[in-house]
Symmetry: C2
């Protein structure tokens, strides 16, 4: 050992409004230790204690227990003395015992590290002193029982011996319950607790071969070493590997005085918030209980009281409690202990000022002395998040960039869609889980057929799958539920466009159209039964759950406006109808990044012409049918261009396999045969010809336009004519024509030629021109790999990360539900790559595609129109790759705008 080593500080004290460390020393003291030091330093009365540094952990791994204990013993002894002095109690003292907690604390919070050991310092003698001092024998013995259990588990390795075994201490308790014929822990008598302590210690001796340590110092060193060992435990190693943290960081150990809120009527415990976590209102609030432990506040067996008088009065009004009753039985802390309240109020102001964010604090009063146990940035609703950010900006606490960074973009979803009333949700019984296909909450009565969607006032349309014929019913229903299909199924895509709540692919549902029943786990639900859907989580809930309609606040407008000041990457929307386009424009969309033209064909009068086109055997026959579709498509485009006037509109040419457009029910096939004057056999034969083994990888996208050029011609004509018609009315349309599913530059060239030739013809016919671009989706891996060649021709790229993810992973999104959930559960995947762009793999293709594209066309316009375009971490990735815009469904436009601004701010920092 070097001498220098032995003189450096290895133990950092805190408490009594002073500390050796501070919040900047996270690497040395761990996150928890640094924060405790910081709080103490700024004058917050935290229970005193000390932190053994992360460096000691590393030394322990090198040198072992004895050397390390020898090295830090003097400092630890000094630190314990310091705690004793502040708390006025002695470690191991039988009369006035000091008990401590021992916790691990790495640089970052690491779930799976060592659990906490509480009440350390107890033994057969000290427990008696504790009982006397608290005047609560039951509490003392229960604490002792818990201490042995925790210490045994965490420090002495008293775990179940195999996966099939139960916890050894639980086993003893179960046996005693059985013997005493009781069910709950609270039914144990004091004598039972004493017996348990005895039996626990016996079990420890039997299993480990050693007595349970009675000397508090032995207990302390045991716990400290256990924390160090936990750094190399299986769970911590796994977590580090998953997160990419190096193993030489080590963990710190925090030892802190125990304080008790259950030492009588001068004691208590509570939780408080510096602002309202539900609304964001700038009022101090919280709850407390006299003579109680933290878990009593949470347990709900006693009614917690409010911290402030204002809060108490509000509570009484809601709870319909008379003022007299309130003041007598549920007084606020402000009224009951005005001095403590004043002190607490000072601390909350100080902490919020210090951390510049709404704080969620835990406190305990022990014998009239206030201790702050913990403070952290408070969780809040979406509405509160927005209000607090804007309020703090106005109050000068944070600047604009900070205000923007305070927004968790995904939480804005709550503000845009109906949500379940949290009160109503408490009793919710989730009967199954599907894919969260389209966010929001919906409650309604079950119907099984689209044409019965108006049978009740509020309906949930429940189908095995939906098809184009169901469109109108889907529009009427409050929510849509399907047993099959993925996140890109017909139901899911249409619902997202409508901004309507939808859960798809809920495989546990057995739907019987004949009996009009839905069976889940053996329980049957009938038509007319109430059901509720949470489209944001995929939860399917039995019965009626009331919903809250969204209402956008002024603060929401302010934060969105602020985002435009910092965002350099634009946000467009995916919209297939003028209605969607208008909605998105209201949300601030700066153009359309994806209009799927095929959805236009699904409407009843159009699907007929489309089917005739598909069934035609000759180019002439196809052209005849396409001529019927032309005016309808043109009208669609006119509507969309008008809604987006002055902004670019990316129109994707026909994409899905033709099989999706043909009727699959016999009656409809018969109708079609009659209409077309051909035999039913011919219709069936054509439909069966269109069937594919893997339609996702089949005859679709530009493969259609290149094998049936007349389709592309019709679509190009409709687009150009629409723009020219609007131009005549003084409306500016900026079409960007997008070719889907390009894998080779030759495919693009062929489509581009058709489009440009058609446009030229239309220009001549109209004797007028408009500006337009021709570009392509990059959604096939090969397109990303050969983007340099494709960019020589294409005027813009739009990454279709849905298909790109499907092909890069080899996952069919519609089928992945069979293994994706298991993969996520087993940790093979961290997140669903269809929700969050896989930057490690798929991201390489996006980056490569962008870079290669710009290598041959430096000013290439690049965007994204997959679902990821509205997912914040993916938006940030797109910004860093250098994209010009992201495009997402209308209701995610605000989320993407914030994410775009945040990405720019983060990069500038």
């Amino acid at each position: 050992m070097e001498t220098l080593e032995s003189v450096k500080t290895r133990v950092y004290k805190f408490g009594n409004k002073t500390a050796d460390g501070n919040s900047k020393m996270k690497n040395l003291l761990g996150g928890k230790g640094a924060n405790l030091a910081e709080m103490s330093l700024i004058g917050i009365p935290v229970p005193p204690g000390f932190t053994i540094t992360t460096e000691v952990c590393t030394e322990y791994n090198l040198l072992g227990k004895d050397a390390v204990v020898k090295m830090i013993l003097p400092e630890v002894e000094e630190s314990i003395e310091n705690i004793e002095k502040i708390m006025g109690a002695q470690f191991g003292d039988k009369e006035n015992p000091l008990l401590v907690s021992v916790r691990s604390g790495a640089r970052v919070s690491m779930p799976g590290m060592m659990d906490t050991v509480l009440n350390l310092g107890l033994n057969d003698e000290v427990v008696i002193g504790l009982a006397k001092r608290t005047n609560n024998e039951r509490f003392a013995w229960d604490s002792y029982r818990r201490f042995i259990q925790m210490y045994g588990d965490v420090v002495l390795g008293m775990k179940p011996e195999s996966k099939d075994d139960i916890d050894p201490f639980e086993e003893i308790m179960e046996a005693l319950k059985h013997k005493r014929n009781i069910k709950l822990d609270t039914e144990f008598t004091i004598q039972d607790l004493k017996d348990l302590v005895y039996d626990f210690k016996e079990a420890v001796k039997k299993r480990t071969g050693h007595d349970f340590p009675t000397n508090p110092w032995d207990q302390l060193w045991g716990a400290v070493v256990a924390v160090f060992n936990s750094w190399n435990g299986d769970r911590a190693v796994y977590y580090r590997k998953m997160s990419g943290y190096p193993s030489d960081w080590g963990t710190a150990v925090n030892v802190q005085a125990m304080v008790y809120g259950n030492m009588g009527d001068n004691s208590g415990t509570g939780v408080c918030f510096t602002r309202d976590a539900g609304t964001g209102e700038d009022v101090f609030n919280g709850e407390y209980l006299i003579n109680a432990q933290g878990e009593d506040v949470v347990a709900g067996t006693r009614t917690p009281q409010q911290i402030t008088k204002l809060g108490s009065l509000r509570w009484a009004e809601l709870a319909k409690v008379e003022e007299e009753d309130r003041f007598k039985n549920y007084p606020s802390l402000e009224e009951l202990m005005p001095n403590i309240y004043l002190e607490l109020n000072g601390y909350q102001q100080k902490l919020e000022d210090h951390y510049k964010d709404m704080q969620d604090m835990e406190f305990t009063m022990q014998d009239g002395k206030l201790w702050i146990l913990q403070t952290r940035n408070g969780k809040r609703t979406g509405a509160a998040m927005v209000k607090i950010a804007i309020d703090m900006l106005k109050q000068g606490m944070i600047d604009e960039k900070q205000a923007l960074l305070r927004i968790e973009p995904n939480k804005l979803d709550e503000l845009l869609h109906p949500v379940f009333d949290p009160k109503s949700l408490k009793k919710a019984h989730v009967i199954a889980q599907g894919l969260p296909a389209s966010p929001g909450a919906a409650t309604g009565q079950l119907v099984f057929f689209a044409d019965e969607a108006n049978k009740y006032k509020y309906t949930i349309l429940t189908r095995i799958e939906t098809s184009p014929e169901d469109l109108e019913g889907m529009n009427i229903a409050r929510g849509i539920l399907t047993a099959r299909g993925g996140m890109t199924s017909h139901a899911a895509v249409v619902a997202r466009g409508m901004g309507k709540c939808c859960i798809s692919g809920a495989g546990a549902l057995k739907i019987n159209y004949k009996t009009r029943t839905l069976t889940v786990d053996g329980k049957e639900y009938h038509e007319g039964d109430w059901i509720s859907l949470n489209g944001s989580t995929g939860n399917i809930i039995e019965g009626k759950v009331s919903t809250i309609e969204p209402e956008l606040s002024g603060e929401f407008a302010e934060i969105m406006k602020l985002s435009d000041k910092y965002a350099t990457m634009k946000v467009r929307t995916n919209a297939d109808t003028p209605k969607d386009a208008k909605a998105a424009r209201n949300f601030g969309a700066q153009g359309i990044g994806l209009t799927r033209t095929e959805h236009m064909f699904f409407e009843v009068d159009r699907i007929k012409a489309m089917r005739e086109m598909i069934l035609a055997d000759t180019v002439k026959g196809r052209k005849y049918a396409l001529d019927q579709l032309l005016p309808m498509q043109r009208e669609d485009f006119e509507g969309i261009f008008e809604a987006m006037q002055g902004l670019p509109v990316t129109v994707r040419l026909l994409d899905p396999p033709l099989h999706e457009f043909v009727p699959h029910q016999l009656t409809q096939q018969k109708e079609l045969a009659e209409e077309m004057h051909i035999s039913l056999e011919a219709v069936k034969s054509k439909i069966s010809e269109l069937e594919e083994f893997n339609p996702m990888l089949g005859h679709r996208g530009c493969r259609l336009g290149n094998t049936y050029p007349e389709i592309t011609e019709m679509q190009a004509r409709a687009i150009i004519e629409a723009a020219l018609n609007l131009k005549a009315k003084g409306i500016v349309a900026i079409p960007e024509i997008m070719v889907p599913l390009i894998g080779t530059v030759e495919e693009f060239e062929m489509q581009e030629n058709i489009i440009r030739n058609t446009a030229q013809k239309v220009f001549e016919e109209y004797n007028d021109t408009i500006e337009f671009l021709v570009g392509t989706m990059i959604e096939i891996p090969r397109a990303a790999l050969t983007a340099d060649l494709i960019a020589k021709k294409a005027e813009f790229f739009s990454f279709g990360t849905n298909d790109l993810t499907q092909m890069a992973f080899g996952y069919s999104r519609d089928d992945a539900s069979k293994f994706l959930p298991i993969y996520i559960e087993k940790g093979i995947l961290k997140v669903d790559p269809f929700e969050v762009l896989d930057q490690e793999g798929v991201g390489q293709l996006v980056k490569m595609g962008t870079e290669k594209g710009r290598s041959t066309k430096p000013n290439l316009k690049v965007g994204i129109c997959g679902e990821h375009g509205g997912e914040p971490s993916s938006v940030e990735f797109c910004y860093n790759v250098g994209m010009n815009y992201v495009s997402c469904s209308p209701f995610r436009v605000p989320i993407a705008r914030i994410a775009s601004a945040q990405a720019a701010i983060k990069k500038s920092m």
Copy 2:
């Protein structure tokens, strides 16, 4: 113009056994011009002529016609004079006219460049002289008619005016035929031909506004300029773009004296080969006709005579012609014109010696003077190719590397599979085309059910699709034909493994099992009708075509042995049975690169246990069924390991989706339900649960092993136990366990853990160990992108380029038949990427995967096991990427061995 420009040589003469240029001047003289110069230079009597250089073409594009004509006029005049001197005839002379041909000739052969103009120099007066000199008025006027037609088309732009029109000259000829009520060109009288010439010239005048040029010099300049213009014609530009040739190469113009074999009994024409193109035998051979033009030899209206006496005698024997008759009516050139024969024989030896390869020559005798019109490397059969290479090596003409490079690897296929007898094939009527799923030729009687495959001696099993139940019937049938399914369908994969001829996905076939008929294009074929399949081309032929069984020659063995001397990259095989493994080993396979374990489950007794496993609802139930499968799998592996003893065997764990194993027919579903003592409903429900939208991207590969770890456990156990059992018998097994469909390193780690833990258990049970590797397929794009991470764990990579191609292109191989043929026809794709590895796109992933993999594991063993492993250009790519081995089906092993050797040789050059 610089002075230097005007003095450089722009026109290169050749003829009279001398030449200004030589074969090295291809860039300047074009390929054809350089070769004509070379032949003349080495003393071959080519019809004299000259070449205008490619540089002049470039000058023409800059300066235009007048400047260029002025610049080259003196050289061209001198060159024409040179021809006149050699030929003893005058250009434009009425008595003794010299006629010439004009041809384009770029550096490389470019289909789509200008057509040839023959007989240039004719006009109304010259034609009379020609008639006199040839004593053949009909020939003279027909030549004149043809000249105007060719010149009009090529030089004067007399093309059809629109796509629907016919050729303007053909129109005139059709009108005359109609008027004269005749059908064939040969029925025209001399007067008709004269009338045609008149009408043709009128048509030219009417369409172009100018008289047809009568001055031979005007004709010549017109043709020269037309050649230059053709360089920038649509077809040439398109071809250049496709092939990546620069536009500044330009084309040369070749002007050459016309010679005629139809000037009397002292004239003639013929084709000859320096060796036998069918067998490779080193004998001079060929055919000729007296008083004939080249087209007469080809036309088949007269019986061509043999060049050599030996050939003539052999011919007479086959044709059953008596010697007297032969000698009188069909004498050989050797007998008829011994001097000319001797001269020709000298030239053929000289040309073969010069070009060091078998030559295919065209010659003409005009008035007793021999002219060699052309020589080129002769096309040959696979057998001849091998024999000639080995013979020339032994004769010291070429060295070992050259001999190997002479092998066109794909042609070896002919030697390994039955082929159609070319004579029998001449009358073949191709009724439809399918995918060439497994090479070879087969002829047999139609059967529609696998269990009737032995109904006739030779059968062709014809099915809509095949399924595992058909296995035995497939083994019995001579060939397999399916209407659906792609190159990786069940039929295709099984047939390739068996080395049996198969055509799949022949969509034009309508199969009716009830009536036992096959309908194509309205024509019906019944059970028992004869049909023939060419599995190498996909041609389906009506009736019986006799086949020739392969017989491997000594030269074949010699060339294969030679390949091993130069090949550094190894060749393994894809084999699923001991039989296949043995076959491949006989073909020189150096291990197994892919054993698909799932095929083992398709056999009747196993499929039952497999289905029970799939239908089990619990881990316990699955394990029970897997326990039944274990001994069978172990036995399979023992057989394969034994066949490959001492060589590595890569075993791929279960890959296909479980749906492929369940019965799809009601009767079988009922049976299964009874066997398992569950309801038919339960069986059906489970089967429908397994259905997927895109099974290719579904629950398969390691996704099975990671969701049902017990499957991997069973397979790992079977592999390790098999190897240990053999070890006990003194047989060395080298298993390389391969995890399929890895997309993330986490998936691999989980599988690797199961495999290693299982192996450890088995080692303990056997108290013995063996060496084995655990590696992975790289077949998911994401795996290639993250290969650096995967290689940290995997001990080897094997590129599965089938799936990699499917996912990189987004093509389902089973469905691509709907657009791939159209794509290839339209030039969007040059070749089918499932046959030839797409180096531009998919190749990037292979290269990236290899490089990234070796960046973290420098000695990573890398191979390929997709179908491309047996395709020569792909094998070369794999070599250049640095792979350790390629693996292919047994019958392609020899091909891959040659390709591997060639790749190494090419790189070393």
